[in-house]
């Protein structure tokens, strides 16, 4: 069967860690936040780096919680926790991450720089910080999830 697995997500980059694996290849471990606080989605994104420019940029974007556009596919990591329970985490294996600027955001930045006269360089607009990501450790048992409450207002259609 022809298989398809495609994800396209734009959200705020809230974590960026560059790791080097044994083979010498570099991988960026990112966390992207999507949506408003009440219904936020936090998802881990792995990206193999072949571009040194992006490697330098990602931590800066993460510092400002800037927007990124992620293209990739869904994957699942599995491991055993210290207490012996099986854990799993759904993440994105990205083949492309691009820095995505928001028009509205730039406008806000301008406004803030004019109102705060002291700053010669437009200080990064302090937007409401996204809530810290919760402990993402989905238990991999077949029962959970289906009973979870869903807020009707969050449903997009």
């Amino acid at each position: 069967m022809a298989s398809s697995n495609f994800v396209f997500l734009r959200g705020r980059l809230i974590r960026s860690e560059i790791k080097t694996v044994k083979s010498g290849k570099k991988v960026a471990a990112l966390t992207v936040a999507y949506g408003r606080e009440a219904s936020s989605l936090f998802i881990d994104v792995d990206l193999w780096l072949n571009d040194s420019k992006l490697e330098g940029l990602l931590p800066k974007v993460a510092e400002k919680k800037g927007y990124v556009l992620v293209k990739g596919e869904l994957r699942q990591d599995k491991w055993e926790a210290k207490d012996g329970t099986k854990r799993s985490r759904i993440k994105i294996l990205a083949d492309d991450v691009s820095i995505s600027y928001s028009v509205y955001n730039n406008k806000n930045a301008e406004n803030s720089s004019t109102t705060s006269s002291s700053a010669p360089t437009p200080a990064p607009k302090k937007t409401k910080k996204p809530v810290p990501p919760p402990v993402v450790d989905d238990e991999d048992d077949e029962d959970t999830g289906f009973d979870a409450e869903v807020d009707e207002d969050d449903i997009p259609f």
Partner: protein
């Protein structure tokens, strides 16, 4: 806001159909996605709302292969033993049922040995 998912897979649970508090039909189930490139299969919950949920409950059964289209990644959060838990799932706008064209049994048997001659 950009949040798009398309994912093919096999349904590994029964299809449940329930009503939301507002009376909207909701269907949920879990799918398994596996390709040769992937170290482990991906299991993810899928949720469908509205008329499509009723269609899914009527036509899709466990074991069927589907494509989850017009999907959106979502996160369910809850507390368990005072710890915050979260689960990533897909809310889908459309489910496409994938069926194999059946082989005639004689074609299938002879076909495999002689296929190379074509």
């Amino acid at each position: 806001m950009v949040n798009q998912v398309t994912l093919s897979g096999q349904v590994v649970t029964e299809i449940s159909l329930r009503q939301s508090k507002a009376g909207v039909p909701v269907s949920d189930f879990r799918i398994k996605h596996k390709t040769r490139r992937m170290p482990n299969p991906l299991f993810i919950d899928v949720e469908v709302w509205g008329a499509e949920a009723e269609r899914v409950a009527e036509y899709v059964t466990r074991g069927d292969r589907i494509i989850v289209a017009k999907g959106e990644l979502r996160c369910d959060m809850w507390e368990k033993d005072g710890q915050k838990r979260s689960k990533i799932k897909i809310t889908a706008g459309r489910i496409i049922l994938v069926r194999d064209m059946p082989y005639k049994s004689e074609d299938h048997e002879s076909g495999e040995a002689e296929e190379t001659s074509f």
